[in-house]
């Protein structure tokens, strides 16, 4: 295996920025190794063409590259048939595709079971179905940030048609037991969707072992280009879904009054696909496979345990962090506050108290402060407002790790936090 230091050397942006950028916003998006950038350049320099319908050689070569990419990514997630992967823009689109498409067969009173730790992308698309009387339920979390399994079981009813759950929370870092949840869903006769946006990039994920019916993930969060993502579905289930977007490529025949559709995956790839994106993501998958997903997971486990150790050592009085402290259930995500800002109940009006309560530092100020020490973290609701509210705060700051991060980055994070704490004291 390569050393983690060597790995950092593969990332032109990180080399360029040097000490001026400690990039800890990997749950939002990741940097790209030169292998991926090169694959994009190579594509536009040697293979670029529209795919599928062309009879000339260039188009057939492009088609070949496109389908080989599908196959490669299919193998990466343990899918035995590449036709089970449809290319989409990102996780969000994959989940919308499912919600729109499954929506045709969902009726008043049917229930969809989510968890309170879902990303907005796994909430809002389902909310659209509320119009037709479909009900959303949210399984709660325990105090330690793990999923409340008892609540999950209670909310899984005979009316639950679909269970859609994140594999890893982008805020708490909680890794859910996907295989167990899939089994519960299936025993209940429900379809099981896994949001893999934060798991596929960071740990081995095998769709067949987990037995999920559908899996969604984004290329840009796993070293791949922007604008490409994947929807995996067991073939018969995927092919059985009604189409989502209509147009070129997804049809079999079009008449003025009706159309017939192609089989999956084409059925779900309306319009000219992002061939560049597929090829770039395939290059990213090669890069990750070369390191080994077990190694990626170990590295991040090391960083997050080191983080929690540092947290205890520094013991910043107003620092509070969230998420499980059992490393088996914890991804490389560290979400925290320097003093908590609780949400104001707008209806009750504002309480007339002084702003400076216990010298709390707002997450925005934390992020700006860290940025001035060259540490890039995210602050806000992390597209998980229901969870943020559940934690009874208005916002949090979040550091999230990837393969090019090191223990030194964690050291710098805590040194900078100390500095901010002093500034606001």
């Amino acid at each position: 295996m390569l050393s983690w230091q060597q790995i950092k050397g593969d990332f032109p942006l990180l080399i360029n920025k040097g000490k001026n950028l400690i990039f800890l916003d990997n749950a939002a998006t990741t940097q790209k190794p030169k292998q991926v950038i090169d694959a994009i350049v190579d594509y536009y320099t040697n293979w670029n063409s529209n795919v599928r319908r062309g009879i000339y050689r260039l188009s057939e070569e492009a088609t070949d590259h496109y389908e080989k990419s599908r196959e490669n990514i299919s193998n990466f997630i343990g899918s035995s048939d590449p036709r089970q992967l449809a290319f989409v823009r990102n996780t969000t689109e994959a989940l919308n595709l499912l919600a729109y498409s499954m929506g045709h067969n969902l009726h008043e009173g049917d229930e969809i079971l989510l968890t309170i730790m879902e990303h907005h992308s796994n909430i809002v698309p389902w909310q659209f179905l509320q119009e037709k009387g479909v009900k959303l339920k949210f399984a709660d979390i325990n105090e330690d940030g793990t999923l409340d399994m008892e609540d999950f079981r209670n909310k899984l009813t005979r009316k639950t048609k679909v269970v859609s759950v994140t594999h890893c929370s982008n805020l708490l870092g909680t890794i859910n037991d996907a295989a167990e949840l899939a089994k519960l869903a299936h025993d209940n006769g429900s379809l099981f969707i896994l949001d893999g946006a934060q798991s596929v990039p960071h740990m081995p994920v095998d769709v067949e072992k987990l037995d999920c019916d559908f899996l969604a993930f984004s290329g840009h969060k796993m070293l791949g280009p922007m604008g490409i993502g994947v929807l995996y579905g067991k073939y018969d289930l995927l092919n059985g879904l009604p189409p989502f977007n209509g147009g070129g490529e997804m049809i079999s025949q079009v008449y003025t009054d009706h159309s017939t559709y192609a089989d999956a995956p084409e059925k779900f790839e309306a319009g000219t696909p992002n061939v560049e994106g597929a090829i770039g993501l395939s290059a990213a998958v090669d890069y990750l496979r070369n390191i080994g997903m077990d190694e990626v997971r170990s590295h991040e486990k090391d960083l997050i345990s080191y983080t929690l150790k540092k947290e205890e050592e520094h013991h910043i009085d107003i620092l509070k962090s969230y998420g499980p402290r059992d490393m088996e259930k914890r991804g490389g995500i560290y979400t925290f506050n320097l003093g908590e800002f609780n949400p104001l109940s707008m209806s009750e009006g504002l309480i007339n108290e002084q702003i400076r309560v216990g010298s709390n530092v707002h997450p925005h100020d934390v992020a700006t402060g860290l940025d001035s020490s060259n540490v890039a973290v995210r602050a806000g609701h992390h597209c998980a407002m229901p969870l943020t509210h559940r934690l009874n705060v208005v916002a949090t700051s979040r550091a999230s790790y990837y393969i090019y991060n090191s223990r030194e980055d964690v050291d710098l994070l805590f040194e900078s936090l100390e500095k901010i704490r002093r500034l606001y004291a």
Partner: protein, 131 residues
């Protein structure tokens, strides 16, 4: 200290010990402005007599930029007339703070100005609308 550091110090001073903090009893306009993304909140109560701001207070919760700028803005506009206040723009607020803010923090900085402008506009509707 650099200019930037001095400006930061001033802002933090306002944040720690905000001016005009509280509510006016006999306010003729009252408005809450809220940024759902970060939870920053500012409530403004204002007393306007003959188109002049005779008193203004705020209460709020949020980051140093949203709260500090509310403190500075309320200082600035006390005694001003409506016409002058309506002319205050984004630029003026950023100059007042003297900090280089990125686009996301600019929203924080402008929260109290937005609230103030809405108060003024509500007041004008009432007085010029004749009710």
């Amino acid at each position: 200290m650099t200019d930037e550091e001095i400006s930061t110090e001033i802002l933090l001073d306002h944040y720690r010990n905000p001016h005009n903090y509280g509510q006016i009893e006999d306010a003729n306009e009252k408005l809450i402005e809220f940024n759902p993304v970060c939870g920053d909140t500012v409530q403004i109560t204002i007393r306007i007599e003959n188109d002049v701001v005779t008193d203004i207070k705020f209460i709020g919760r949020g980051c140093s930029v949203s709260q500090g700028s509310a403190s500075m803005l309320t200082d600035k506009v006390k005694g001003m007339n409506i016409g002058e206040i309506k002319k205050i723009n984004q630029e003026d607020i950023l100059n007042m703070l003297g900090l280089k803010l990125g686009p996301s923090r600019e929203k924080c900085a402008l929260l109290s100005l937005n609230a103030l402008h809405k108060c003024i506009s509500n007041h004008e509707k009432k007085t010029h609308g004749g009710n």
